[in-house]
């Protein structure tokens, strides 16, 4: 179990630790600066900042040492023949940082849709050119908090780190089996209801808010899509809509149980023009039967005039599958020790929460 949480917000990184059976803020970093991604493994912490004026930055802390700025993913010079590219060749923000498996590699998903790789623990990064220079990428479009497409999730197969699934908002799910040398669009069976009718079933138009897989059975994947919740049993090739989702199928975040492939959690909201909890009640929904049915978990969560929205990287589960934590755009933050049955609010009013991650030993 993990006793430490890293919570990136619009105005700082909050380190939240569990002591004497309760969670409390233990330290604050980068106060005032937007934090867009964080990864804590061993005694190293990587934090991505989005400085409004001065661009996206990456900082690293080792053990009790000081934070030091490290190289941030950067795009190569835009070639003359890339004039029809609708997206900038300039980093918008780092949206997630994901361990690459036993080899120590790291992946960074970014806006405007570049995937970057580091083989030195995040000190230097290189653009995955095979994905970026794919002609199909020109069809990607932005909806997620701006005009740029963003790589919302990077999932590395725990059994074979060369097998990676990347979720894009907006551009569906892309798969590589050769550590990123080649890519193909998968995700059959999804339906994006806000697109023009003839494009709604096109895999490349699908708005992948977030993907998650069961670590012990990574062929089982979950997707919180803009239009619905989906589940796949073949590593994202084919998807089935989970129509039993309640109180709604709309939301951003999903957490998969690390060992039980039938269990996952979501933080639903009224779809989609009104991005608030259904009836002003913050709840977490959980399925334990592969999506046939959903439970609505609300014990300890605000049930009256609560307008907290949870973004796609702001729900986390620890390696035990028992501890969960999530934060909201209103600065609410809750933890559970029992798989979501009971929740406890953090005694703090945080800035808007963008990312929640457990520290992993």
């Amino acid at each position: 179990m993990s006793d430490r949480l890293y919570v990136g917000t619009r105005k700082g990184l909050f380190e939240i630790a569990r002591k004497r059976r309760a969670w409390d803020v233990a330290d604050v970093h980068f106060i005032g600066d937007p934090v867009t991604a964080v990864l804590a493994r061993g005694d190293a912490v990587l934090a991505a900042l989005d400085l409004g004026h001065f661009g996206a930055k990456l900082w690293r802390k080792d053990g009790n040492g000081p934070w030091r700025e490290v190289a941030v993913p950067a795009f190569p010079p835009k070639p003359e023949d890339a004039g029809d590219d609708p997206h900038p060749w300039t980093l918008g923000k780092v949206w997630n940082i994901t361990p690459g498996g036993a080899d120590g590699r790291l992946w960074a998903g970014t806006m405007p849709g570049g995937l970057f790789r580091s083989d030195d623990g995040g000190d230097t990064w290189s653009l995955v050119e095979s994905l970026w220079r794919m002609p199909e990428r020109l069809k990607w479009f932005g909806v997620a908090g701006g005009e740029q497409p963003g790589i919302s999730t990077v999932l590395v197969d725990p059994r074979d780190s060369a097998k990676i699934r990347v979720g894009v908002s907006c551009a569906g799910v892309w798969a590589t089996t050769d550590a990123g040398a080649s890519w193909r669009n998968i995700n059959k069976g999804m339906y994006n209801e806000y697109m023009p009718p003839e494009q709604r079933g096109d895999p490349i138009t699908q708005d992948i808010h977030q993907l998650a897989h069961c670590a012990a059975r990574p062929e089982v994947m979950w997707c919180q899509h803009h239009s619905a919740i989906y589940r796949s049993e073949d590593t994202g090739e084919n998807w089935r809509e989970l129509k039993a989702a309640r109180p709604s199928g709309f939301g951003f975040a999903v957490a998969a149980h690390p060992s039980d492939p039938k269990t996952a959690w979501f933080v639903p909201a009224t779809k989609d023009e009104r991005r608030i909890p259904v009836d002003g009640k913050v709840v977490v929904s959980r399925t334990r039967d592969g999506g046939k049915s959903f439970e609505v978990l609300s014990r300890g969560l605000p049930q009256r005039h609560a307008y907290d929205l949870t973004h796609r990287h702001a729900l986390a589960i620890d390696d035990s599958g028992e501890r969960l934590a999530f934060g909201s755009t209103s600065g609410g933050f809750w933890t559970s020790e029992d798989a979501g049955e009971q929740w406890a609010a953090l005694d703090a009013r945080l800035p808007p929460v963008s990312v929640v991650r457990y520290g992993v030993a």
Partner: protein
């Protein structure tokens, strides 16, 4: 030599003192600064070498005209001011 002055906001992240450098254009002058202080480059310029969208640069009291190519001429006794364009909330 042209003088380059940076917003004090940058001091939260690194030293960015006022410096006098060689250079006949904005790009040459900034390039000379970044040669001595490489970490500063990414705070002022984007991946393609253009001025960041929310960074403002004045050359001798006027906004830089060529924000991508940085070709604005800079006189020997002129000043370049680098500061943040106001945004956000």
């Amino acid at each position: 030599m042209p003088k380059v002055v940076f917003t004090r906001q940058l001091e939260r992240f690194m030293a960015a003192p006022t410096v006098e450098v060689e250079g006949a254009t904005l790009g040459e002058a900034l390039g000379a600064v970044f040669a001595a202080n490489p970490a500063l480059r990414g705070y002022v310029l984007d991946d393609q070498g253009a001025l960041r969208r929310h960074v403002a640069v004045f050359v001798n009291g006027r906004p830089a005209a060529d924000r991508k190519g940085l070709s604005d001429p800079v006189g020997a006794d002129e000043e370049i001011y680098v500061f943040q364009a106001l945004s956000g909330g």
